[in-house]
Symmetry: C2
Subunit: 495 residues, 2 copies
């Protein structure tokens, strides 16, 4: 059963080589391939799929297959990967992740995760203090939240906590079917809808609040929607404010929203999955002013901060609510006659077995310090500011689609004959050609492996969306991305 | 920002050393320590907690801190770790996990996870065929399920699918508050309760079905409970049958249960988080006869099969239900104008960003083949059978608490004056001394680092629970564990 040491060493060499020598700008960010091409590539070694009676493969074949995995995968550490709300995994975070995997345990109990249980408390305390949430008074108090497998799951748990506060009978009796309302901006993440469905609130419970031109929730509109819902007999359950929307990275105005929630005693959840990391930067944290008044907060450290998937926390104002909301006191696991059982996190969350996502964050934070984490955030915004300045100085070559001043750039490439662009003046044919241009450019970039960037509709027209957070991306790299857009778009527009 | 290559290499050396040279039997399985001791140990390098303004630490301090992490953690690969329903991480699985982390992407779309999207389909197809579930007819059909962050989450999704079949309006309208009933045996996992609460069904919806002496659900009792719940106006929503209960590893009789569910048109979910892996063994798979008639099935490959946390799948009979149950069609992510977008798994599950847990399973399976996976399961049962034989031949030295014939051993150590043990004959004082013995023995084992095994109440008295699944554990290792119990218990009983 035990594999050969030669095989293990060969795999260690390959995977650690990838971390020690991440792809350079001149390497392809992706070798785009169809499923058939990828399947063909694996056919030479172990095959991608499994036979009815799959044989064990040789060490050589396994190493060759591993090479194919790297060969055909997207390189999210590459300076030209600006496609997603994550990029540039921190190499220390990757190794911290490996340590957690090598020690493979569950975060459910102190007994099997003594170090990681204490690390969780330390990290949650620190994150809570950055968020302005109360810190536990002593070691006997529960920590300020929990680690979750992703921001969507964190939001799900937050809404359950909100429901439990509104109606403690939900635990035993379940939903009484009375309609509730959850408010989220029209730019908010789709996980609110998913959570509302899973909790049994239904999509009808989700009220979409209009935003301003930059994509931030309008507090006046929120107040109006709350009044409308209440008048229609829907109990306001929670407001989901977004700190860093997915497309334009808008920050909802938390102070004004918190005021409204306080007036109506509505649970305020802040979805800072992406933008929460602004808290690390003394110059950026003002974007989350008012967060200290929220009831709960989700923060994905696997987004801006380069932790590997996944590293999410849910912070809560009143951690004492976690246990009554989530506990079932399984006697085989959370036994009071085990030492230090009061530290077991398992009955304060939904998950049972749970990967120790804290290890990578703890180690990376210790390596970089507060200043290093601030620098990662500040550097990202400096590069994004540089791109904004280049767009502004491009004589109409590029047009910003939303203003924005954080890490996300949404832009249109403007054909020469349309400069300076006035979207409202476009006839339907031109508008639809421009809309179709983005996906065509993206395909060319993928095929040549030069860049991977988002293309998506804003105000009904496909724009390029570039997210800057990878510390390896310098201004020159960002310049190259604009040059690439220009080169491909020029060619595709006339073809 | 980029850490020094020396630091990265030092960390790679340490973590890969742990995989290449896992702890030997003579090494401690744990250096048990209080939180204060662990905090002191870290104080010499980087400190466990974070200062208000945490500095960046030196490479030397970070390496020293990493050594402390290994020093104070539980070694779940150790032959004397039989504490949990996971043990003995497969080294290839660990390295496969590292590859996924190094390439750090999300399993949500083909665009950013082309290889892993195809691997998921290949692995889900193969697992579905082992479970006797229908395989997708063609590449255009969705795969037979999804990867989940743990079995509890998989069960949650399965119950949502059940609710959606019973009442499709749940998606838009939400719960109508009409009471439902979910049936699970009294030995079933507590995640059924947690899921019932989170979905808004409430604990009242969970009906506990009596078991036989070995801990398996009694079909006659299930039929009776269904009739009672229906008569009381609760709609039967789902039956959760357990394939491998947590404590004794009992297998509920699926054929009889499936018959009852078919008669009443009730969703049958099989929780095979632990015992699902019996399907890998031609001689063991009979334990899950009837599974092919279930509607959904959860299977944790991070339990018996040694994958790192976590590696869970939810398989479903009708994959076409996944998308209407979970989709929200976020237009920035799942755009129809992206190539191969029909392969995107993201709209068939709840999670958005999602770690590529498939990589480790795919690589390990290719390395061992079907026969190697079968051998892991068969070896575990051979060792457990050996222990059962030793208990039977112990002249009353040890007493089995439940019969069992899979990987779990629940036993009592019997004081000389009570041999052969008849539990019913014990007076209260002796019974309570025997009950208190287990935790005391466990503490000694922890303090001396000799073993980590479960101690938990069965029939109201603490027994030792040993789970065998680590392929490094041979008969001699199991003998040593019994000897350890005898040695400590003898000493503690008279002290």
């Amino acid at each position: 059963m035990r594999p050969s040491e030669e095989l293990l060493r060969a795999l260690v060499d390959r995977v650690s080589g990838h971390v020690l020598r991440p792809p350079a700008t001149t390497d392809p960010v992706i070798r785009y391939a169809t499923p058939a091409t990828i399947a063909d590539a694996f056919a030479a070694s172990v095959g991608l799929s499994f036979a009815a009676n799959e044989a064990a493969h040789s060490d050589d074949a396994l190493v060759a297959a591993t090479d194919e995995v790297f060969r055909w995968s997207v390189h999210t550490s590459h300076p030209s990967f600006v496609n997603q709300n994550f990029a540039g995994p921190d190499p220390i975070g990757v190794l911290g992740d490996w340590i957690g995997a090598a020690l493979n345990t569950t975060g459910a109990t102190y007994e099997v995760a003594p170090v990681f249980t204490l690390m969780e408390r330390a990290v949650l305390d620190k994150l809570a203090s950055l968020a302005g949430f109360p810190s536990p008074a002593g070691d006997a108090d529960p920590p300020a939240g929990m680690f979750c497998p992703g921001g969507s799951v964190g939001l799900l748990f937050a809404l359950q906590l909100a429901r439990y506060r509104l109606d403690p009978d939900i635990i035993d009796r379940g939903s009484d079917g009375r309609p509730v309302a959850v408010f989220v901006s029209e730019s908010g993440h789709y996980s609110t809808k998913k959570a509302a469905v899973l909790l049994g609130l239904g999509l009808d419970a989700v009220v979409t609040v209009p935003t301003d031109a930059d994509g931030a929730m309008r507090p006046d509109a929120l107040a109006a929607e709350i009044a409308t819902a209440s008048a229609a007999g829907r109990r306001p359950l929670a407001v989901i404010a977004t700190a860093g929307t997915t497309v334009t990275c808008a920050f909802d105005p938390l102070v004004a929203i918190a005021e409204i929630c306080a007036d109506d005693d509505i649970w305020l959840h802040v979805d800072g999955a992406y933008g929460g990391s602004a808290l690390f930067s003394p110059t950026q944290r003002r974007r989350l002013d008012g967060l200290e008044r929220a009831d709960s907060f989700v923060w994905d450290l696997h987004k801006m901060m380069g932790m590997t998937q996944q590293c999410s926390v849910l912070l809560v104002r009143e951690p004492s609510r976690l246990e009554p909301c989530f506990a079932t006191r399984a006697d085989y696991l959370f036994q009071p006659d085990k030492r230090n059982a009061e530290l077991d996190p398992g009955d304060r969350t939904f998950q049972c077995g749970r990967r120790v996502d804290v290890m990578k964050l703890w180690l990376t934070w210790k390596a970089h310090g507060d200043a290093g984490f601030a620098a990662r955030v500040d550097h990202a915004i400096e590069v994004a500011d540089h791109v904004r300045a280049r767009i502004a100085a491009s004589d109409g070559h590029f047009a910003p689609v939303v203003a924005g001043d954080f890490t996300n750039i949404c832009l249109l490439w403007v054909p020469p004959e349309l400069r300076p662009l006035t979207l409202g003046d476009l006839d339907d044919h031109t508008r639809s050609r421009l809309h179709a241009l983005g996906p065509r450019v993206k395909i060319r970039m993928q095929d040549e492996g030069t860049a991977l960037m988002g293309v998506q509709p804003v105000h009904g027209i496909n724009c390029f969306r570039l997210l800057f957070m990878n510390p390896r991306v310098e201004r020159a790299d960002a310049d190259s991305l604009l040059d690439l857009i220009d080169r491909y778009a020029t060619r595709e527009w006339v073809s």
